[in-house]
């Protein structure tokens, strides 16, 4: 084959393809006028690929729908519409326990709160051996060895000592490392990390990001990194999706999106990040308001209320997510093809 000249990175096919993912929840307060149910559009038409050895960041403010996307991928929710293909198989509507178990052995999740995700009365060893036993990863007599290997691989050494500790004896960063070691136990191909550093002390956050960076390379894991911190996405992610009110408004390679942000919301988000070089003055941002909860939305761009570039057509039709330059997509009428 002539493809040999291509770098491996480019040739690697995606392990997970998400196409048109949509998740609607019934709105509280019962039915609307004429007896129709009203729906919260938490996620609307989100598509992306996850590739081994790459980190994809999903960036957005609270209420943008990023955590709902993760929960759909972890199959904690069954999506309203769209497909999730994993290794070429449709996993969108898996229902049987056995199938879900198999799927979850390969798609693992790291949660935001390392204080809530570990059992306070069990040792570190207990936490990491459980997945090894449940999924029969290694023979019984090798379990202890594997636990120690996993602890060392997430930077918890001496491993023997850490294995015997209880969660309360660990700092936040160490707990998050235990949580990561636990996900690694099943040798996953996809890791979904939902705000894994936002509850940690600032001085140890970067250590967890560096660990993720190391793991994606050494174990060829496809990472989905959910964050509200766009600077950390720049630090670790290869690709970025920016979400607003349930939709992707811009997506593409990290450098393309962050060096040359096209959507007015991406620009707003970037200009809001503290920048010690510049200072507050002279950089007044405009964009009053917060991410709206979208209930039975009208045909219109969801950013109109806050957009500095709003035009008439933005209020009457929804722009398409269109490719503006290779791999760089944006949902805005300022650009052609939308």
């Amino acid at each position: 084959m002539s493809a040999q000249a291509l770098p491996v990175e480019v040739a690697a096919p995606p392990v997970m393809r998400v196409e048109g993912l949509t998740m609607h929840f019934p709105a509280g307060g019962g039915v609307g006028p004429f007896g129709t149910r009203r729906w919260i559009h938490a996620v609307d038409d989100v598509s992306f690929d996850l590739t081994p050895g790459r980190v994809t960041a999903l960036v957005g403010e609270s209420g943008s729908g990023k955590s709902t996307v993760v929960r759909c991928l972890a199959r904690l929710y069954e999506p309203t519409a769209g497909t999730i293909m994993f290794h070429g198989e449709d996993v969108t509507h898996l229902k049987q326990r056995k199938e879900l178990l198999q799927y979850r052995a390969q798609v693992q999740m790291i949660f935001q709160d390392p204080f809530g995700s570990l059992n306070p009365v069990k040792t570190v060893e207990h936490h990491i051996e459980r997945p090894l036993k449940i999924h029969h990863i290694v023979p019984r007599n090798e379990i202890h060895r594997r636990v120690l290997d996993l602890l060392s691989s997430v930077g918890l050494s001496p491993a023997q000592e850490f294995a015997a500790k209880y969660p309360h004896q660990l700092s936040g960063g160490q707990r998050q490392r235990v949580a990561i070691a636990r996900t690694l136990a099943v040798e996953p191909t996809v890791l979904l990390a939902d705000e894994p550093i936002s509850m940690l002390d600032v001085s140890i956050r970067i250590g967890i990001l560096n660990l993720m960076h190391e793991l994606k390379a050494s174990r060829n894991i496809a990472f989905l990194y959910i964050t509200h911190d766009i600077a950390s996405a720049r630090y670790i992610a290869d690709d970025v999706l920016v979400m607003y009110a349930g939709q992707v408004v811009e997506q593409g390679p990290t450098d393309a999106v962050l060096q040359n942000p096209l959507h007015p919301y991406t620009r707003l988000l970037l200009s809001a990040v503290p920048n010690p070089e510049a200072g507050l003055t002279g950089r007044r941002i405009q964009g009053r308001g917060e991410v709206p909860v979208v209930i039975d939305p009208p045909e219109a761009c969801r950013f109109t209320a806050r957009c500095p570039n709003v035009m008439d057509r933005c209020r009457t039709a929804m722009p398409r997510l269109a490719e503006v330059e290779p791999g760089h997509l944006v949902r805005c009428y300022l650009y052609p093809n939308s």
């Binding site: 002390d201 140890i204 970067i206 250590g207 560096n210 766009i230 630090y235 010690p276 003055t281 941002i285």
Partner: protein, 335 residues
Amino acid sequence: MTNREPLLRVEDLVVDYYSPRGVVRAVDHISFDIMPGEIVGLAGESGCGKSTAANAILGILREPAQMTNGRIFFQGQDIASMPPRAHRKFRWRHISMVFQSAMNALNPVLRVGDQFVDMVQAHERVSKRDALDRARDLLRMVGIDPLRVSAYPHELSGGMRQRVIIAMALALQPELIIMDEPTTALDVVVQREILQEIEELQRELQFAVLFITHDLSLLVEFSNRIAIMYAGEIVEMARAQELFREPKHPYTVGLMNSFPSLVGPKSMITGIPGSPPDLANPPTGCRFSPRCPHCTPYKTMVHPVLQEIEPGHLVACHLYGAEQELTHERASTAS
């Protein structure tokens, strides 16, 4: 700074928590000044004592915390020794506070306006109507529709509730407002809008601010001077830009190196190895020594003292100020 009197002077403040495990010293001999109209930042990680210090200044420490040493002067008057009644009158009129959990600082069953009335009437003899008028003016100042005086807190978004709290903190025109992580729970866009508003109000009304946060990059932007706290102590203090350009203490350097940047070339950053110490059992000598890249055995024995190494730039680190070290060395060998 000119030779004006400081608005607030904290001298040798110590706060201890009496826990079943023994005494935990949350704030350990810290001293600093705030000049009138100045914005001073206090930065540090969770558990470093920054909120405890703020509560001590405001005189609202609760059991098991106790101020065991030091004095706090406000406009030359020692406020830490004030009787509780006098302190209640003084608080909010001269020093007000915006809390971290402002989301929960409002009473959920009272209209926003009524909460203003309660607060104003606790300090002044004014009619309800006048107090409500003032509430409307204040809400307008922080960018909220004055008609919202009749809203309940749950009808407001997080950002708006935080603005209400800021308006309440401004209500009696205090000379100093302590802001303890006022925007941490908010999204970046809302955070920036609120900070811009605070800055404009501050320029107009000239109040001083003690701004407490773990977000150093935000602080560099926002404040005039910054104090860095670690394990109960101030380890460095300098003008904001100077601290940003020339951090001296290895902890400050590490903190600066913990935030990925949005601009410039991408490079691997390292943060700080290890985690903050357990204050019930702090390391001997320099408390940062177990995590410090420059540590030597000597530094684990001798406690560094906060000293001025350049005008207005204070550091507590053995890397600076050789004289101090020598006297210490002599003292320790003599003993």
